[in-house]
């Protein structure tokens, strides 16, 4: 297991180099000037000063080398647009907010979606099943900005139960009303997703011979469900939820904007629009690392859920 993990970690290095190269060439392709954010033209002398300061006057391979060096030393340099801040600082200050938002959203998915899916599968074609699946269809179909807007309109403006926007500044502060709407709006998709997935895989698992055998042996139904059906049905759920963590960075953008949450998703989109190369690079690499780590964790979890994969690896 340990060698496997180490091997996986070493493999991330070429992946990240490739990500840097890809983003670097894409950003160069789309053109644009990070030093011109307003309609005001930048005089040539000032443009030259800025390019000199931020190493943009150098040939492309030198610039690429700078980025690789920056990533390798975990010092991602200054932002080109937010002039008093460094990329490290930006990531450190804002990534935790997005991570928290995504964890809470996935939390909604697991807390509501999982039981709903299980209950639906245990009583297929019941009223509850239909209701849950209708709800999950809606959750799939509604874009999260619409959900967010409707929630703000009713819960915050009409009923006045929570503030319309904002986010607690401390990461560990979970007792704050402002967490509820954004995480729910983002989490609705996960709820729907998890509920459907669990229902589907459980129904399939319940048709398996080993379930019938277990039942035939006279095991109590509750025990069959918990030990055999559920455990086997969770494998696809874990597979699906892991990579969704990657959405931490890119997928939270809309929700962060609507609720004015100081997360990294907003920075990412703004930085691309502003051609803030160093910020784009920093956040992309971070996103790559998050996805890689999430996949790694999923693979390790597999081992616990499914002994066959554990044996195959050793």
């Amino acid at each position: 297991m340990a060698t496997y993990v180490i091997r996986r970690i070493i493999w991330t290095i070429p992946v990240i180099l490739l990500v840097i190269l890809l983003i670097f060439s894409l950003m160069k392709q789309i053109g644009g000037n990070p030093f011109r954010q307003t309609e005001r033209a930048v005089p040539p002398a000032i443009q030259a000063n800025l390019e000199e300061k931020f190493n943009l006057g150098k040939p492309w391979y030198a610039q690429y080398a700078y980025y690789v060096r920056d990533v390798a030393t975990f010092n991602l340099g200054p932002s080109l647009v937010l002039r008093n801040r460094t990329v490290n600082e930006i990531v450190k200050a804002h990534f935790p907010h997005s991570l928290k938002l995504a964890i809470l959203a996935i939390g909604w998915g697991l807390v509501i979606g999982l039981p709903a899916g299980i209950a639906s599968a245990l009583r297929p074609n019941s009223v509850f099943d239909y209701a849950a699946m209708l709800f999950s269809n809606i959750g799939f179909a509604l874009p999260n900005f619409l959900v967010a807007t409707v929630l703000i309109y009713y819960v915050a403006l009409q009923w006045d139960l929570v503030p319309t926007n904002g986010w607690p500044s401390a990461f560990w502060d979970f007792n704050d009303k402002r967490l509820i709407l954004p995480s729910f709006a983002l989490g609705l998709f996960f709820m729907a997703f998890v509920a459907r997935l669990v229902r589907g895989t459980m129904l399939e698992t319940m048709q398996q011979d080993y379930v019938r055998t277990a039942k035939a042996k006279g095991l109590r139904w509750r025990r069959v469900v918990l030990r055999h059906v559920l455990r086997n049905s969770l494998i696809p759920v874990v597979t699906a939820v892991g990579p969704l963590i990657g959405l931490v960075i890119t997928g939270t953008f809309v929700i962060e904007t609507i609720f004015s949450i100081p997360g990294i998703g907003r920075y990412f989109v703004d930085a691309v629009a502003a051609r803030d190369y160093s910020v784009v690079m920093g956040i992309t690499v971070l996103a790559a690392i998050v996805v890689i780590v999430a996949n790694l964790i999923v693979d390790i979890l597999y081992g616990f859920l499914d002994p066959r994969t554990r044996e195959a690896r050793t």
């Binding site: 000037n33 011109r36 000032i46 929630l151 503030p163 904002g166 509820i180 004015s260 920075y267």
Partner: protein, 554 residues
């Protein structure tokens, strides 16, 4: 009381969603009072307001700031040499007086004796000399260094590659003594005093900048000298200001505290306003579709705003007759009444109303009547040498521009022009515009917001080698008039030159490189408890020093 809000709301959320999905019809309570918040009502005696900042400030360093929010924060925590009053006349602030030499090229500011920094140091002329030279230094690489290019030797120092120290010494800004600041200009610039109200001319505290480097603007490091202090700055979330009781004029500031939430999205901040979470915005940023409704409310406020929203022509693609015809075909008043909706003034020329000398400068162009003239437009279109009936109209995809483009597209179709509207993301858009503009661009939209209240700031965009002239228009007579105006300190004579320059662009024989659509207004939402005393100047500068909270803020 706030025991577990999570559990409590789960059910509520599900219900809401069901409601939302079932169609929100029949629940149109536009006149619904958003008040009655559970929070304790604030007594009027408490001079505290909450405002929504429109963006995370890219920098609170006066030398590096370029945007409105940064400028608004800086303007309230720092002490500028002068401020502009409601007539855009400079009034003494940190400078108690100033003198301009006979030939107009030397300006001498006399600073007040009682200016001081929050750490107790006095504010001296040397602070300004240091700050301006710092902004010009190539190492700082300030985007707005060119604001100081009117000073002798400034441009040379900013562009230097070698001998920089020597060039720095030659920059025409000198602290003669602690309270006398002498500035040598490259030419007589009668607008220079007014221009020095711009945030680029604000002094920074040398020792602090040198000690903390790029971190000096963080609240724990910053040293300021204005009516308010930067108490907290949580990036992308909030900026709080508190009154500085030691400020030289603190007796006249009533407001004790400004809590500021950074809310970028227009809809979000409007919702926050309507829920009573914020009391005012720092100007603009409202969703255009909401303006008609908001206009009917007591909290709506509208300010003069020096700027011009225009459509530029690529003069190599669209010939003169057709440019005139297209300009005539635009019914500006209709665009304003139905699309822009904030009582903007229909665009007559480049120079907006409110600029000193406007009555003389305004070209009264035959080609830009407020309600258009389709008949004449059609006849001009028929005369066009090489009429181009398929036109590409470019705009950047920010709120509001598309709606105007669609209205204009419709108007142009009346004279047989088939317009293709092409929206671009901002950075890409600027690539298309050049200068020189891409061959695909026939017409483009841009706006110009004035840096200082003198018509030159807008007219000089249209000189041949201007970086903001995306039209391929190049006229020697025009360039000559602009250059002559730069050398003319006398207001009446200079305004006459501006009028002639406007005439070259928009007059009877005008070249029409651009056609103005409207001159901006700035709209804002302000709670009635502060509306009377909240003020935003015509260059979008929010001034909090006069704010008094009266009655109850909702």
């Amino acid at each position: 009381m706030r025991r577990n809000p999570w559990l409590l709301l789960v059910a509520a959320l599900l219900v809401v969603l069901a409601l939302g999905v079932a169609g929100c019809g029949g629940d149109d309570e536009a006149a619904d009072e958003p008040g009655q918040t559970g929070e304790a009502e604030e007594p009027a005696a408490e001079q505290v307001i909450t405002i929504a900042w429109g963006a995370e400030p890219p920098s609170l360093d006066p030398g590096l700031a370029t945007d409105t929010t940064s400028s608004n924060v800086i303007g309230n925590i720092m002490d500028p040499l002068v401020v502009l009053d409601e007539n855009l006349e400079p009034q003494p602030q940190l400078a108690e007086s100033w003198e301009v030499s006979e030939d107009g090229t030397t300006v001498t500011y006399t600073l007040r004796q009682d200016g001081q920094w929050t750490n107790g140091d006095p504010v001296t002329a040397a602070d300004f000399e240091y700050s301006w030279k710092r902004t010009l230094s190539p190492e700082l690489a300030a985007d707005y260094a060119y604001q100081l290019y009117g000073i002798q030797g400034a441009q040379e120092y900013n562009a230097c590659e070698s001998n920089c120290d020597r060039l720095a010494d030659q920059v025409g800004v000198t602290a003669v003594d602690d309270h006398t600041l002498e500035v040598q200009l490259t030419s007589p610039q009668p607008w220079f005093i007014a221009q020095s109200a711009h945030h680029s001319f604000i002094a920074v505290h040398q020792a602090t900048v040198e000690e903390f480097g790029e971190q000096w603007t963080e609240p724990e490091n910053i040293v300021t000298n204005g009516p308010f202090m930067l108490e907290a700055w949580e990036h992308e979330a909030s900026i709080d200001l508190v009154k500085w009781d030691e400020w030289r004029n603190a007796d006249e500031v009533t407001l004790e505290r400004v809590n500021g939430l950074i809310i970028v999205d227009g809809t979000t901040k409007l919702q926050a306003f309507e829920a009573g979470e914020v009391d005012a915005f720092d100007g603009g940023g409202l969703p255009p579709a909401e303006i008609p409704r908001l206009k009917e409310t007591e909290e709506y406020e509208q300010y003069e705003y020096l700027g011009t929203y225009y459509y530029g022509f690529n003069v190599e693609n669209v010939d003169l007759e057709q440019r005139r015809a297209m300009s005539l075909a635009i019914d500006r008043q209709t665009v304003i009444d139905n699309v822009a909706q904030a009582d903007q003034a229909p665009g007559a020329g480049m120079t907006p109303p409110g600029i000193p000398g406007y009555d003389v400068i305004n070209p009264e162009s035959p080609w830009t009547p407020a309600s258009g003239d389709l008949e004449q437009a059609q006849s001009l279109m028929d005369q066009a040498q090489s009429p181009k009936t398929n036109i590409n109209l470019f705009h950047n995809n920010a709120p509001g521009h598309r709606e105007i483009a669609v209205a204009v597209q419709d108007m142009w179709s009346e004279i047989g022009i088939n317009t293709t509207i092409r929206a671009q993301e901002w950075a890409q858009y600027l690539e298309f515009l050049g200068p020189p503009p891409s061959n695909q661009v026939d017409v483009y939209r841009l706006g110009w917001i004035y840096d200082y209240p003198d018509a030159i700031n807008g007219l000089e965009l249209w000189t041949c080698d201007s970086g903001n002239n995306n039209t391929n228009f190049c006229n020697e007579e025009f360039d000559g008039l602009v250059e002559e105006a730069r050398q003319t300190p006398d207001d009446a004579a200079r305004f006459e030159l501006y009028a002639q320059a406007e005439d070259v662009m928009f007059g009877e024989d005008g070249e029409m490189p651009i056609t103005p659509i409207y001159h901006y207004t700035l709209i804002n939402m302000e709670d009635t408890c502060i509306k009377d005393t909240f003020y935003i100047g015509a260059l979008n500068s929010m001034d909090l020093t006069d704010v008094v909270v009266e009655g109850e803020c909702s």
